[in-house]
């Protein structure tokens, strides 16, 4: 019994971590149809900057803001000066953001070195909480809470406000969107920056968990892509439940069939895609 409770909590906390990791990607993809392969770089830059700011200010939350701002700034440059020139050309976006991933990854090595590092969690969140005999790390509970909160917030933003509709309109037919009075370029830049900043935040919150090291950009990108694909592109709901599914399969797969650990992420994804080619909650594109 204890085994199942702990493993379920593990799965849930990993799920929320995954959700944090993929929310920014899903937001940008869902609303703007851009697959931002530099997503992992936003994580990386966000986490590193947060680390520097945190060390300097000695305050986790100041670090958090620093990380979000830095990642947002990366997003701004990427969208405003690069992506906007190749609007709507998916494959070029893939190539461009992939190139940016290389560049940012190397820039990070130059600035912060190559040693793996991690963000220290704030003191009040370290240690484990006693849940009636079962010890569970406080920080993980915190991640669960934050994940759920961000999930609800984004869902409301995307589905329940006009913003979501306006953005999707811009994606459907950019020219017509301008013709109903929407300032599309500014709008897109704003959303992209928001998505990037969110990713930066995930870098800060995930930092104590996953760590920051050269190559984490690709690791994070892969996980995030898997999640939003399983959940179905373009829906926050998909990203949220996709995280839970991927995390549960991964967690219980590893716990129960450790020899299959290498396959717990990608094999289920291949199966899900083969059965449902647009992901579980996918919007028809």
């Amino acid at each position: 019994m204890e085994f199942w409770i702990i493993q379920s909590l593990n799965a849930l906390s990993f799920a929320m971590l995954l959700f944090l990791l993929c929310a920014g990607l899903s937001l940008i993809f869902g609303l703007m149809n851009i697959l931002n392969l530099a997503h992992g770089s936003c994580y990386l830059i966000g986490a590193y900057v947060a680390l520097s700011v945190y060390t300097w200010s000695n305050n986790f939350f100041v670090g958090l803001i620093g990380g979000a701002v830095a990642a947002g700034a990366v997003g701004f440059v990427l969208q405003r000066f690069l992506l906007q020139r190749i609007y709507g050309r998916r494959l070029l976006q893939v190539l461009l953001t992939f190139g940016c991933m290389f560049i940012l990854g190397d820039v990070a090595i130059i600035i912060w070195g190559a040693d793996p590092t991690t963000l220290e969690k704030p003191a009040f969140l370290s240690g484990a909480l006693d849940l009636g005999g079962i010890f569970f790390p406080k920080y993980r509970l915190f991640v669960i809470a934050v994940g759920i909160a961000i999930g609800i917030g984004l869902w409301l933003f995307q589905e329940k406000t006009k913003w979501g509709a306006i953005l999707r309109a811009g994606v459907d037919d950019e020219q017509m969107a301008r013709a109903v009075g929407i300032n599309v370029p500014v709008l897109f830049t704003t959303v992209f920056v928001l998505g990037a900043a969110l990713t930066g935040i995930s870098g800060v919150l995930g930092g104590p968990f996953v760590g920051v090291y050269p190559g984490v950009d690709l690791d994070v990108l892969l996980l995030a892509v898997v999640v939003i694909i399983v959940g179905g592109l373009g829906s926050m709901k998909g990203a949220f439940f996709g995280s839970i599914i991927v995390a549960s399969l991964d967690n219980f797969g590893k716990a129960l069939f450790p020899e299959l650990a290498m396959f717990t992420v990608f094999a289920p994804m291949a199966i899900i895609l083969a059965l449902k080619p647009t992901g579980l909650w996918g919007r028809v594109l």
């Binding site: 494959l91 190139g99 290389f102 560049i103 190397d106 992420v265």
Partner: protein
């Protein structure tokens, strides 16, 4: 057709260039060309899917790696059978295509990209964890190039170069024939509008499947050549960086062009070589190369040069494309990750 004569002229100058290269290049440079050719073949297999079906695959390495491993495993267990080892490699790649095909071609655009990635990762996992057969993370070093025809050894850089050039030219020829055949035309039609093709009476599924299998086979050929070139199949053959670079070579050279993959692979191989001896942080330069390609040669190098050659027509074309009712619609070959089919 003038484009046909152009292709023929180009092909002849290419053969001449390949014949001359051994006299002007150092052994090392010749080796680089060899490896670029091997990668170009892999890129061609990606090009078949991307340039002619609009499916971007970051999983071509699946076939590549599978073939490379098959050669090494077969050579280890049955010795002295070079031809059959090569045959084994190709059959395995083909089998992988036959097996994955039905799953993969159900999906489209980004989903296709990712399901191929998943196949690759799964095979990576197999290669990594099935130590007894695959050697785990150390791979299977020690594959020696065979003597295919008595007396002619491939074990010299020059010998192998010639072998690879011959294979490359054969595949290029076959590829040219394929894409200019009725079969190839059908593929291009599918890329533009699947629904319409079905309504006309084409079994779209079958075509996609066949193209997928052919692409798997070409990827397998590249894998076999690769296996003998380095003599050491290893899990990195399945890595994301590896397969994505095949895709990037296609985009760089120009998707849907015959020689785009070659141009792309030559550029990447040589840029990497030159830059990496100048600076440790050569990835920045590689990344910049990608960014600049996108900004300045958005249709790939060959595509963009093709445009310069006929500026007026292209401008009109561009405008016309921009004014259609669906501005998101693919405007050129490089955008076809998402063929917007008005599927009513």
């Amino acid at each position: 057709m003038s484009s046909k004569t152009k292709t023929v002229i180009f092909l002849f100058s290419l053969v001449a260039a390949f014949a001359l290269l051994p006299f002007i290049l150092s052994t090392y440079r010749l080796g680089l060309v060899t490896s670029a050719l091997i990668l170009a073949i892999l890129a061609m297999s990606a090009n078949l899917l991307l340039g002619y079906l609009g499916l971007a695959s970051v999983g071509q390495a699946a076939f590549f790696g599978v073939a490379a491993y098959a050669v090494a495993i077969f050579t280890r267990s049955v010795d002295g059978a070079a031809w059959s080892a090569i045959g084994m490699g190709l059959i395995t790649a083909l089998a992988a295509g036959v097996l994955f095909g039905p799953l993969a071609i159900r999906t489209r655009d980004i989903f296709f990209l990712v399901i191929m990635l998943a196949f690759c990762q799964i095979l990576y996992g197999v290669a990594y964890s099935w130590r007894t057969i695959t050697g785990g993370d150390d791979g299977l070093p020690g594959l020696v190039r065979p003597e295919l025809i008595a007396g002619i050894s491939l074990d010299t850089p020059l010998g192998y170069y010639i072998f690879v050039v011959i294979v490359f030219l054969m595949i290029t020829g076959a590829f040219w024939m394929l894409v200019n055949s009725p079969f190839g035309l059908v593929l291009k039609g599918i890329k533009d509008s699947e629904v319409r093709m079905r309504a006309l009476g084409y079994n779209v599924w079958l075509y996609k499947y066949l193209a997928f299998i052919i692409s798997a086979l070409i990827g397998g050929i590249s894998g076999v050549l690769h296996a003998y070139f380095y003599g050491c199949p290893n899990p990195a053959d399945f890595s994301l960086i590896h397969s994505s670079s095949a895709l990037l070579m296609v985009i760089l050279g120009g998707p849907g062009t015959l020689f785009g993959p070659l141009v792309g692979s030559l550029i990447i191989v040589f840029v990497r070589d030159i830059v990496s001896s100048i600076t440790d942080r050569w990835l920045i330069v590689l990344g910049l190369a990608y960014v600049c390609t996108v900004l300045f040669f958005p249709d790939g190098l060959l595509g963009t040069i093709g445009k310069w050659a006929e500026p007026k027509i292209s401008e009109v074309k561009d405008q016309a494309a921009a004014s259609t009712n669906t501005p998101l619609e693919a405007q050129s070959t490089a955008d076809t990750l998402l063929p917007t089919n008005p599927s009513e």
